[in-house]
């Protein structure tokens, strides 16, 4: 008996940006699987050329309204590397605190508003709020705190205006940051409970052997700096990224996806960071993960919601530590001369590593830009997860199978708006 089925999601919901999924099955085998991206290209790498290097962090922020800080940070680090400037001391700490704010905001958004409804059986967090009001309220309060930290350091939550190459335009007074401590203390408890709560959700028995890639820093959980390492032995300076990551064509589509040279697909993001940096988590986060029975490594992408909870707690504890240690710097920024030449930067966006490279001329104008966002890197892993998952859910009622596929995509918190400007994807519409 032959059975042909089709799983089709015209518009993926609760992801950032616009994409769809088409799966064709015959006799339980996947004949075609396609993650369609119909988000239009915006050509950032094109129009960055000719812009002054000091404008770059403001411009790249506009690639993504969800993680603008990540774009600003990778841009600044790449341009500072080209200039041979290092930002240290309180300015470095402020950047890390800003990144903590973005992680808290982005992870709270995803855990409570975008991902949790899949586990609890709702279309959205608003419907979920009717039955799980306290959970949604807690998520919103955590998200608000993350946004408040970004707004304090960045001027506003979306597209912060206070970040520049070399540091900031204005730095906060100590008491402005200390004011966050009571809410952060609440958040520490709330994030701890989030880990427990998330670990109690129902997870499909699923695991896929893949290469995890993340930054690794000698003594902290990675955000702004570190070497690029992987679960299969990669250990390189970020400047070597393009020598190790290639874009390959896959047989079932005309899409080119990022892959490690000679090995294939890899995954970045919370799971990769956690698996490669468990020993660098804040003490409370490490303890919460252990108490919740979260394995190391964790290879079930559906459990990324628990790992995001752990990182939420880590970011809260880091924020508390950074605020306690903060001393106001003498100047809001380090002077950065024209960074003539090439610079590379890679930082940990909430969704994974975000790589930037710039070549700048003697006039300070950008000659060439290259940006590889995390979702472009995870795209192939998402498809490989689906290839394994689909045959297992093929006999479920179509609605249920479709939902499970959507959930598998949302495991990666994909940001299609980011990825599109760079995804080498064929646009096919039916």
């Amino acid at each position: 008996m032959t059975r042909a089925r089709r799983i089709k999601v015209d518009m993926l919901a609760r992801v950032e940006g616009e994409g769809g999924l088409t799966v064709r099955l015959k006799d339980g085998r996947v004949r075609e699987l396609r993650l369609d991206i119909f988000e239009p290209p915006r050509f950032f790498e094109g129009f960055l050329r000719g812009r002054h290097f000091r404008e770059v962090p403001d411009i790249t922020a506009r690639i993504c309204g969800i993680c603008p800080v990540a774009y600003q940070m990778s841009s600044c680090h790449a341009l500072e590397a080209a200039a041979g400037v290092r930002v240290t001391g309180p300015l470095r700490d402020l950047r890390r605190l800003l990144y903590c704010g973005e992680w808290i905001e982005s992870h709270a958004l995803h855990v409570f508003l975008l991902h949790a409804p899949d586990f609890l059986g709702y279309d959205d967090a608003i419907g979920m709020a009717a039955d799980h009001g306290a959970v949604v309220q807690k998520g919103l309060r955590l998200k608000k705190l993350g946004n408040a930290i970004v707004a304090k350091l960045g001027g506003r939550e979306i597209h912060p205006i206070n970040v520049c190459v070399g540091g900031f335009y204005r730095v906060p007074r100590r008491q402005e940051l200390v004011a966050f401590v009571p809410e952060l203390e609440w958040a520490r408890e709330a994030a701890y409970r989030t880990v427990r709560w998330a670990a109690g959700l129902d997870f499909p028995d699923f695991s896929r052997d893949t290469e995890f890639v993340a930054l690794r820093h000698p003594d902290e959980y990675p955000m702004n700096e570190g070497r690029l390492v992987s679960s299969r032995g990669l250990d390189i300076d970020v400047a070597e990224f393009e020598a190790h990551v290639v874009e390959e064509q896959v047989p079932y589509s005309n899409a080119l996806h990022a892959a490690i040279r000679g090995r294939g697909a890899y995954a970045c993001g919370p799971l990769a960071r956690y698996n490669l940096n468990f020993d660098r988590l804040s003490p409370g986060a490490r303890a919460a993960a252990a108490e919740a029975g979260l394995p190391v490594p964790c290879t079930n992408p559906f459990m990324s919601i628990v790992v995001r909870g752990v990182e939420l707690l880590c970011a809260v504890e880091e924020a508390l530590r950074l605020i306690a240690a903060y001393t106001e710097p003498d100047a809001p920024r380090v002077e950065v001369p024209v960074p003539e030449g090439t610079g590379h930067g890679c930082t940990e966006a909430p969704r994974g590593i975000l790589y930037h490279r710039y070549r700048v001329g003697p006039d300070g104008l950008v000659r060439e830009a290259r940006i590889v966002p995390p979702t472009a890197q995870n795209q192939r892993s998402i498809e490989e997860d689906l290839l394994e998952l689909v045959p297992r859910v093929a006999d479920l009622p179509l609605e249920e199978a479709t939902l499970r596929c959507e959930q598998a995509i949302r495991n990666y918190d994909p940001c299609i708006s980011c990825a599109t400007h760079f995804l080498r994807l064929r646009l096919e519409r039916e």
């Binding site: 609760r14 992801v15 690639i63």
Partner: protein, 256 residues
């Protein structure tokens, strides 16, 4: 008698998602808003996607593909009130920089197989394609202004949005003028209020997120910037960033 709640829809075209995220960033008000309207179509937040017609449609993003040029016509047909939100939807956004360049060359620079792309040579605001009932400016939009628009809609009144310049907001909050006192390039005199004069309060010049103010005079500002020693290329870039294709900024400081 219970009146049915107005149906809200949120549509996205070429954009960063930040303006629609502003709605989810209304952490204190989100559930209250959801109680007052029926969120019928908002893919970033919900799997439930109900067909139109909609009472209030918020549209983010600019029109950059042949497909989207068609889609915006359909959105307009299904929306009783259409509000564009943000610099992309109201002015074409940062991606309108292609309007001053060769988009085929951009495509070749970014994509190895540019022939796969379906893209227009222009990034244009929604108002170039369909009638728009209200434009909410900003890159991103301001949360307070978004809530004001939704509240005004629910109350059946006109929203209270200021069309003056950022300068008036600096004066209101008592920020020393960076341009006059420090010679810092600042688009405040020609940019619409709405952000609360954020950048000057952080010791940096305004870079024009909210687009041109009512009756701006970009050439006068460009002249002053030239006197301060800023070269013509720098002045042009200043005007041509997030609202590059807005009519008053399009000339890069030269008369439109």
């Amino acid at each position: 008698m219970k009146r049915s709640k107005p149906r809200l829809a949120v549509f996205k075209f070429a954009s960063c998602d930040g303006c629609q995220l502003t709605l989810l960033d209304c952490e204190d008000e989100l559930l209250a808003v959801a109680g007052q309207v029926d969120i019928a179509y908002f893919p970033e937040a919900s799997r439930a996607m109900a067909p139109g017609p909609y009472d209030l449609a918020l549209v983010e993003g600019s029109i950059t593909t042949p497909h989207d040029a068609e889609r915006i016509l359909q959105v307009r047909r299904r929306a009783r009130v259409l509000v564009t939100i943000g610099a992309c939807a109201t002015a074409g956004g940062i991606q309108a920089l292609r309007n001053f360049a060769d988009v085929a060359e951009y495509a070749r620079a970014v994509y190895p197989r540019p022939e796969y792309l379906e893209t227009l040579a222009w990034s244009t605001p929604v108002s170039s394609h369909v009638p728009v009932d209200l434009e909410l400016r900003g890159c991103p939009i301001d949360k307070g202004q978004l809530l004001e628009v939704i509240s005004a809609y629910l109350a059946g009144r006109r929203p209270n949005l200021r069309r003056t310049s950022v300068c008036t907001e600096c004066k209101a909050r008592g920020t020393t003028c960076l341009l006059v006192a420090g010679g810092v390039p600042c688009l405040g005199p020609v940019t619409q209020a709405g952000c609360g004069a954020l950048c000057p309060s952080y010791d940096r010049g305004c870079y024009g997120c909210f687009g041109p103010a009512e009756s701006p005079n970009p050439p006068a500002l460009a002249g002053r910037l030239a006197e301060l020693g800023r070269g013509p290329d720098e002045v042009e870039r200043l005007f041509r960033t997030f609202n590059a294709w807005a009519e008053a900024f399009r000339g890069g400081g030269r008369p439109a």
